[in-house]
């Protein structure tokens, strides 16, 4: 169980994060480059020193600013796998994997046994005599994981574990890594810029934006109730924040948002709530529609993007405030003559709106 609170100032950049993860689980920290992901891992490993905060693992305090505790990295039970793996170029694969055990002064026989086991576990026994320079990206990654995990660390830190791989090996290794993480008994913190990787590899997911954690939760919770535009964007949901300003007799409510009023089922609270609308619930019209759709938003088309993987659907981004995304079939788009710049009316029913606090 890792629990950490970290403050670090780097030039004009301020990192401020509190995070935790249980043993056997993976916390995936997702964020854009420059959000402070790598810095956060380095602070946990003890490779750089927080300005304030506390890091504890299974009750062992690794860092406590107030108490003046700061264990150096070599006294932390940590496995650190940096983005480019940093395999020692002057050592063979075997000696790379054995490095930590030798540094920990384990007896030679034990080192041999554990290294052999690690080489076999990661399927790199045949590469034992090679230098890292002669390995493919996927092989290097396995060596790096073996080198870190042979020490049986209490905390595993993975910095963009898939970023150094080419596109083709990427997918296969992602599967292997997910498999591996599910078998580990240590706490794992993984950082990635890819929300897809985060959702595939993390049991818990935290979103790091500009040095701050903006949302943190179990994977399922995050998927059901996104609370940051980052996650909502990833899942292709329209996300707004709003507050009830009036109620209808039929169990509906008017919610005031930054972009206007939205009619939705009554959230049952007067506090500010999150509002999501699936792009599939949004239909597009050239003329104001009649009928039961209670929400109308008018604006020019900013962008039309084919929706992968099949391409028979299109995502239409309206330059309204806030932007609204609609998903339509290619046929419908052709019939309406959709093109960027075209002024259009989007509508969605109150029943298609979800709210949560």
């Amino acid at each position: 169980m890792l629990s950490a609170r970290l403050d670090k100032r780097l030039g004009g950049f301020q990192l401020e994060a509190a995070l935790g993860i249980e043993a056997g689980r993976t916390l995936a920290l997702v964020g854009e480059s420059g959000a402070g992901k790598t810095t956060l891992l380095r602070l946990l490993a003890g490779l750089s020193r927080p300005d304030a905060g506390r890091v504890a693992l299974d009750g062992e305090v690794w860092f406590d600013h107030a108490a003046g505790i700061d264990r150096p990295p070599w006294r932390r039970s940590v496995g650190w796998v940096p983005q480019d793996y940093a395999l020692f170029p002057h050592l063979s694969v075997r000696d790379n994997v054995a490095f930590g055990l030798r540094a920990a002064a384990r007896p030679a026989a034990e080192v041999r046994g554990r290294v052999d086991a690690a080489l076999a576990r990661f399927g790199i026994g045949a590469l034992a005599a090679r230098r890292p320079g002669a390995l493919s990206g996927g092989q290097q990654q396995r060596v790096a994981l073996a080198r870190a995990l042979v020490l049986e660390p209490a905390l595993l830190l993975l910095d963009e574990p898939l970023a150094a791989l080419d596109h083709r090996t990427h997918r296969a290794v992602r599967g292997e890594l997910a498999q591996l993480l599910s078998t580990l008994s240590c706490a794992t913190v993984l950082v990635t810029h890819s929300p897809v990787e985060a959702l595939m590899l993390g049991t818990r997911i935290a979103v790091l934006e500009d040095g701050r954690l903006t949302q943190e939760g179990a994977r399922e919770e995050l998927l059901r109730h996104p609370r940051s535009t980052y996650i909502a964007d990833l899942m292709g949901l329209n996300l707004f924040r709003g507050r009830v300003v009036g109620r209808t007799r039929g169990g509906g409510a008017w919610l005031e948002t930054a972009g206007g009023t939205i009619t939705a089922p009554d959230p049952g609270t007067d506090d500010e709530v999150f509002i999501t609308v699936s792009p599939r619930e949004v239909t597009l019209h050239l003329e104001p529609p009649g009928g039961s759709a209670q929400n109308l938003i008018r604006g020019p088309i900013a962008e039309i993007v084919p929706e992968p993987p099949h391409g028979d659907r299109l995502r239409v981004v309206l330059g309204s405030r806030p932007p609204l995304v609609a998903e339509v079939t290619a046929d419908a788009a052709a019939t309406l003559g959709l093109r960027p710049g075209l002024e259009i009316i989007a509508s969605f029913k109150a029943s298609g709106v979800r709210t949560y606090s």
Binding site: A45, L47, P73, W74, V78, P82, R147
Partner: protein, 271 residues
């Protein structure tokens, strides 16, 4: 037109430079026939100087490595006040006239010198002793080790040091297990250069340690003395020095033997 003129100028300058470098060495090598050279090797004057030179320059190199390595590491990895000043101090012997260095050593370690008095009280003295030769050589050759090794250590990428630290290696283990092996080329080059410099040291040695055959008369000193009486002995000693220095460079891979006549590879693309 201009490109032709440029080529001619480059060729001319290069030719003159090479002639200046190679001609004296060639003159040295052809002066005494090989058979005579082999006979003169057994000359006691030659042997004494050779033995003393090997002994002192090896001792000096060992001292430079042992005392210079921690300093090179400090300069490569730490930031502190006065660092630039320290670097200047380290570099200085490379540009100082050796006789000046010898005089300075005498003022420091001579009988009436700053540290010499303390030494004398302890019952030993450096000037005009073999140990004095070693001290002069250390003084003159240290920067030839410290400067490249410092650069070599600083060039080792931070990620390897961090990886070692996260793999339970304390700083000492990281130094010997990761930093030194990765800086090996610089380490070998630095050792070779400082050893060669110690072997060739003349001015500081003769000023500080004098010119006593068998005690402080190293090969360069013996060459200078022999020149006035026995030119053949001087040439023999010089050829030996030349061979020794070349051997040193080859042995420590500064100039790998196999690569001397090979066309160098194109520069490797950056990774």
């Amino acid at each position: 037109m201009r490109s032709v003129a440029l080529r001619v100028a480059v060729a001319l300058a290069t030719g003159l430079m090479l002639a200046l470098l190679a001609l004296p060495l060639a003159a040295l090598l052809v002066r005494v026939p090989p058979q005579r050279l082999a006979m003169r090797l057994a000359d006691p004057v030659v042997l004494d100087a050779l033995r003393l030179s090997l002994l002192t320059s090896l001792a000096a190199t060992a001292a430079v490595v042992a005392l210079g390595l921690p300093l090179a590491w400090l300069l490569a990895t730490r930031r502190f006040r006065g660092k630039r000043l320290l670097e200047l101090l380290v570099d200085l012997p490379m540009v100082l006239p050796p006789t000046l260095a010898g005089l300075a050593l005498l003022l420091a370690f001579g009988r009436a010198g700053l540290a010499g008095r303390a030494f004398a009280a302890l019952g030993f003295s450096l000037p005009f002793t073999t140990a004095g030769v070693v001290v002069a050589q250390v003084f003159m050759s240290a920067p030839f080790f410290i400067v490249p090794v410092r650069a070599g250590l600083a060039a080792v990428e931070r990620r390897y040091v961090d990886a070692a630290a996260a793999l339970r290696a304390d700083p000492l283990r990281t130094f010997f297990g990761v930093l030194l092996p990765l800086a090996r080329p610089a380490l070998l080059a630095g050792t070779a250069m400082s050893c060669a410099r110690a072997l060739g040291e003349f001015g500081a040695t003769i000023t500080f340690a004098g010119n006593l055959p068998g005690v402080t008369q190293t090969m360069p000193l013996a060459v200078y003395v022999a020149m006035q009486t026995d030119l053949e002995a001087a040439v023999t000693l010089s050829v030996m020095l030349l061979v020794l220095s070349c051997t040193l460079l080859v042995a420590l891979r500064v100039a790998p033997l196999g690569a001397l006549w090979r066309r160098p590879d194109a520069e490797r693309p950056a990774r």
